[in-house]
Symmetry: C2
Subunit: 491 residues, 2 copies
């Protein structure tokens, strides 16, 4: 490869790490486990954000902002939550530095020790429910439909850009409802919103399901999830939506007066997706030449590269290029004309392939004669010559085709890598050799799931929402089961 | 006042605090010094963000994201920066909690002590310039025009909602340039961008100027600022843009090869505005009845309140209200029809006045007969009856008028409260009795500025960019001066 990019077959994990850095998406920082999201990567994330935010608002949600810090004691209030979360986290213990007496720099001022340590939020249920107590007295105050865009910190020991970082960016929705039914409907609605954006904008197909108790969010009664399949056969959890029951309302004493005059605890949901989605995007579509970005997310959808010798030719080509650019921009397309004289066309071709720009137009002297332009699409790497006449409409259609093709390709890949296993040997072989989603019967116990994980590294990714009733026997224990669940080795 | 709001004359500071809470903009949280920005307040902030972001992009900037944490040692690298910043800040010393042995909750795990403490960013120059070292080798890599939307923490002892909080939201631009001239032009350009948004969107008039050395940003060679005047005669710094020279490039060893082949340090700027602007917004426009929000920022621009008796009347009025709403929305106006039967019209009038909704329409049975609607504007509290016919255009025009009127009113207030002082007694009297901006001669020394602050609490808010050459004598020392600077007591 011209880009010195390790091929996927050689080492998938290395390919991923190299690609993230070489394509200018993100890099490691001087702070262990914390990444820098570079402008090109952030530009893609901003579009994901905008698509989500628009749908949150369309479903009645408003944004708000809650504190970065959470007093340590808050975590102890919801018993299962503290077990799941409060351990690996950044702890603020002091609020001042001072000059070192030996002049060597600054040191922590021991006189400025906090009475109670503050935790940098790993998630915000506790601080938010502590606030909701003030907001909710009556059924008239419900529902509360709030979302927050924020950074969170979970002290991970092994980190990987986008997939698992100590600090990451996300949104977390936190809603409060008068009834259980309404809260469950909310959790399900937000799962649909996530699936819509991930499938129709990011072109990543997902399975919708619920988590087994083992994989549930700490404090939830039900965790809904969308699960995607990566090119290396591993699963990636792309988003979760939790029905929290009355757990947090009870822990933080949030009650309301009903229409009928009784007093009850409030019902809750929370739901989130993060910059981890960037990892899913890369591992679903990209190839040995670099990124492949779906047109709906691409910061640059079309790049025009002039092929010329000498100033005069460049000038002639530029006239045409600028005209085509203007025509495409009039249709709302994001177009770049790269007329830099510091880099050769071949270098530029490589660069935009690496960056995953969906469509590349090249214009040379012959194109001027013939009124043509060379059109290369990134997803299939196919090229063709098209007449310049009416190019904007043609490219607009092509971008739509690319978007659909990328999604279909990913769906096909997932179908090819989804299998049923009916015996333990079959199961082990599938997980070990092919990876992918394995549909198998499970007896419904945490112990069996735990044992399967121990033996194969595979976990239950979800119990599909569209699970079919089917009598069967657990793949490991042979105990009865009423339907198949989806196993995979996961990121 | 119906809203139990302290009047401004009684106690301006209390009026402010009460208003922020009662109008649902923000509230204090369970974490000392950290605020919760409520949906209504965040909705206004989102519009400020969008207006800024759009202009940042139009001037060639891209967004990116850098780590929340900064290793302690980074601060020591730029000598004046550490003096200005690294002291009052949140320090992360541990990365794990554990269950207390006595079962009382969780405690800090002393085995999980960080080798080097991490500081929660008070501003990001150091971590960003540590990153830019990787990004910049040649003049071809310049300029770098990057902005970040982020939360920052400065451990303030006395906090006030929006004006001074331990955690706040802001944007910080950090740019790198090949030449001094270009960096200065960038810093000046961004000051203009800020002034544009603050004046034309927030309707807050500002003075543009530079800071005296005493008030300069820690590490800057020049700090440009915009200064606004609040209703109580105090100044509020609304935004700053810094020319940082080569200070951070030198501290973090960021060099580039010039076109000519020499190697030089990179030139830098940084610039930021924060949620503090929300404080400026409130203290510029609002009154004893509550908030007054400029139409361009108002989450709800027009509210329609039905005046009715009984279901049937409400139904008749609703038909008209929905029609008017649809007409206004077709013009892009943000309209709410409040048909709740849980609250009376009087309560609603009060509520939307408190929330600062620019225009209120009321429709009663008589309006149905006459084809009219009662229109009340929030800024002047004037009411008139208008024909329903063509209401959308009339309201659209009215909102533009309100926007302009609010700005003009604030300009008039500032002019009435701007004075020249030529003697020390005059100066003292003006600062003490009237507050406001006082234009006076200053001998240019930090000692004099310090002394004036000590004696009067007034500081130099800025040296105006449009300062006129004028021979004069320093207000305090009598030493020669070439032009007036602007003094005020500041927030």
């Amino acid at each position: 490869m011209a880009k010195n990019l390790t091929s996927r077959d050689t080492d998938y994990s290395r390919w991923y790490n190299e690609l993230v850095v070489k394509a200018d998406l993100a890099q490691n920082s001087g702070v262990r486990g914390c990444m820098v999201i570079k402008p090109y990567g952030y530009g893609i994330w901003e579009r994901v954000q905008a698509e989500l935010d628009q749908r949150f608002k369309a479903t009645g949600h408003e944004n708000a902002y809650f504190p970065l810090f959470i007093p340590k004691s808050y975590f102890s209030k919801e018993a299962s939550h503290v077990e799941g979360f409060a351990k690996e986290c950044a702890v603020v213990t002091h609020y001042r530095l001072k000059n070192a007496e030996d002049g060597s720099g600054v040191v922590v001022d021991e006189d400025a020790k906090l009475e109670e340590e503050l935790i940098v939020r790993p998630t915000s249920e506790t601080i938010i429910w502590d606030t909701y107590r003030d907001w909710i007295q009556s059924y008239r105050d419900l529902p509360i439909l709030v979302n927050q865009w924020a950074n969170v910190v979970r002290w991970e020991m092994r980190t990987r850009l986008f997939l698992r970082t100590a600090e990451f960016l996300w949104q977390e929705g936190h809603t409060a409802h008068a009834t259980k039914t309404e809260a469950i409907a909310e959790a399900e609605q937000m799962l649909d919103v996530y699936a819509d954006v991930v499938e129709n904008i990011m072109a990543i197909p997902v399975l919708k399901g619920t988590k087994s108790p083992n994989e549930r969010f700490a404090g939830a009664l039900e965790t809904y999830c969308i699960e995607a399949l990566m090119q290396d056969g591993k699963a990636l959890q792309a988003g979760t939506s939790h029905f929290l029951g009355q757990n947090f309302a009870k822990a933080f004493d949030v009650k309301f007066q009903t229409k009928e005059g009784t007093v009850e605890h409030v019902w809750a949901t929370s739901w989130g997706v993060s910059t981890r989605l960037m990892g899913a995007l890369i591992m679903t579509h990209s190839d040995d030449n670099g990124l492949v970005i779906p047109p709906k997310l691409a910061p640059i959808q079309v790049v025009i590269v002039p092929i010329y010798r000498g100033e005069e030719q460049l000038e002639e080509i530029s006239v045409v290029a600028r005209k085509l650019k203007a025509e495409m921009e009039a249709k709302g397309l994001r177009v770049k004309f790269d007329n830099r004289d510091t880099h050769k066309p071949g270098w530029k071709f490589n660069e935009y392939e690496l960056k995953g720009v969906p469509v590349r137009l090249a214009i040379g002297p012959k194109d001027l004669e013939k009124g043509t332009v060379e059109v290369a699409r990134r997803d299939t790497l196919e090229k063709e010559y098209l007449q310049q006449e009416g190019i904007a409409t043609k490219i607009e259609n092509l971008l739509e085709q690319i978007q659909l093709n990328m999604f279909q390709k990913a769906v096909d890949f997932r179908e090819e890598n989804s299998h049923k296993a009916d015996t333990w040997d079959e199961f082990k072989a599938l997980i070990k050799k092919k990876g992918g989603f394995v549909y198998a019967h499970w007896d419904g116990t945490p112990e069996t799931e735990e044992k399967i994980k121990e033996l194969t590294k595979a976990t239950i990714r979800c119990i599909p929402l569209d699970q079919k009733y089917e009598d069967g026997k657990c793949i490991l224990t042979g105990n009865p089961s009423k339907g198949r669940v989806v196993f995979a080795v996961a990121y």
